[in-house]
């Protein structure tokens, strides 16, 4: 079974870290990750930029709206995610539009740039 582990934390706190504090957290986390990478158990690791950098595409039948800011509704749940390499936000939005067109359910796609990406290595 593959599991996604989603990290939640207060942005106010994590953005207030100094470079030294931030580096230390990243080192400590990397040390944990390393053991799982070596065992061939860990896939991609990503760190997201703050929610202020987010853009959200909302779609309901017949209508698609782009909203600045993160996904904020509580009626919907996180069901999955994609990582895509784009040259601009517009390109990422086009991808989200295509997804929304192919998806009959109303919902949202939050587009959030990454600040860190490690591809990882899952054993087959």
């Amino acid at each position: 079974m593959l599991y996604a582990v989603l990290c939640y934390n207060s942005e106010d706190v994590t953005s207030a870290w100094t470079k030294e504090e931030d580096d230390k957290v990243m080192r400590d986390l990397t040390a944990v990750q390393r053991r799982y990478v070596e065992a061939g158990k860990l896939g991609p690791v990503a760190r997201l930029l703050p929610t202020t950098a987010a853009t959200t595409l909302r779609h309901s039948p017949g209508e698609t709206v782009v909203i600045d800011g993160p996904f904020a509704e509580t009626k919907e749940q996180l069901l999955g995610f994609y990582l895509i390499d784009c040259t601009s936000l517009d390109e990422a939005l086009d991808f989200a539009r295509e997804l929304s067109a192919a998806n009959p359910a109303a919902g949202s796609y939050e587009i959030r740039p990454l600040s860190l990406y490690k591809p990882g290595e899952l054993a087959p």
Partner: protein
Amino acid sequence: MTDTAWIDLALVSARPQAMGALLRYFRNLDLAEEAFQEACIRALKTWPKNGPPRDAAAWLIFVGRNSGIDKVRRQSRETALPPEELLSDLDDRESELADRLDGAHYRDDILRLLFVCSNPVLPATQQIALALRIVSGLSVKQIARAFLVSEAAMEQRITRAKGRVAAAGIPFETPDASDRAERLAAVATMIYLVFNEGYSAMNGPEGVSADLCDEAIRLVRLLLRLFPAEPEIMGLTALLLLQHSRARARFDSHGAIVLLEDQDRQLWRRPMITEALAMIDKAMRHRRPGPYQIQAAIAALHARADRPELTDWEEIDLLYQALERLQPSPVVTLNRAVAVSKRNGPEAALSLVEPLADRLSGYFYFHGLRGGLLKQMGRVREARVAFDRAIALATNAAEAAYIRKQLDHLAGEAGAADLHEDQQ
């Protein structure tokens, strides 16, 4: 993290929302501050035992409001003032918790609080001091240190600022769209001032000035969370992040200025640059360019160049031209001259710089750049005069040291160049 460090962090991040709501209730900065202070004291007593409340800001507002009301009632008994006239909307005290969780409401509370500190009746230094005190909650001592003045002098400055704000009247009515836009612009300017104070004093007392830059970035992020669809606020966020990303490269180990083209770009903080570039990308989609967005775009072109010679000076020149049209100012033209000197050489840049002499004769950078251009053209004597003017106008030791280095360099070349000039 120590036992109480999490409380400090929670109090700091809840502060703008709690202070904003308390200001709405009490309509008086001092009362709101005292009420918030009282709530913090109680938080320090009860949170370690009971754990953090689910919504720290709501807790502080509730406790602060009650303690403030008690205080006003006590005072009114002593001075026989009718308390209800001092307080606003004190009715439904039971339902207040729900009201405070209403997003739109607290958004205007925080904007009002920030706007009070950005009131154009206040000179820049008072705006900065008041914002750091009221919104950020820095102590008078910390602010005094950042400004290199005594604590008493800073206390006085803040008191004066509060008096002016009260006399000007704090706007309590719910703002309409145009009021909101106006307040937003004033607040953005104030945040930029806070940042610049830190940025220009970067070689001042260790750490203090960098704290001001961090604080400005924290405030602009707060503003962006409240107004996520404002491209100029995105632009300002990007601009501050890009400028601050270079903080470690701007001075050498002796505290001397390192110019952009000589900086070790490995020292630039990549995550801040990445965030800023994403922010500019977001802002561009709105197709509503503004001065902050353009300045951020210029800073981004520097950030994108891995080596100084890869800098896209042509695009920078074009962006400065756009900025000149949007916000004509001799300082913008002076900055454009740097791009022009890289594109078209020092002669072209100097012809852009000379006409600014009347308006910028008291400006350090004007004489510094002029001296640099003249030096490049081999006009050594004139360069020396310009550098002498610059040194007299330097506002800190690092600026003066940089110019002195230029003068020393000139002195080294002087023999040969003087000879050359004499022969012409």
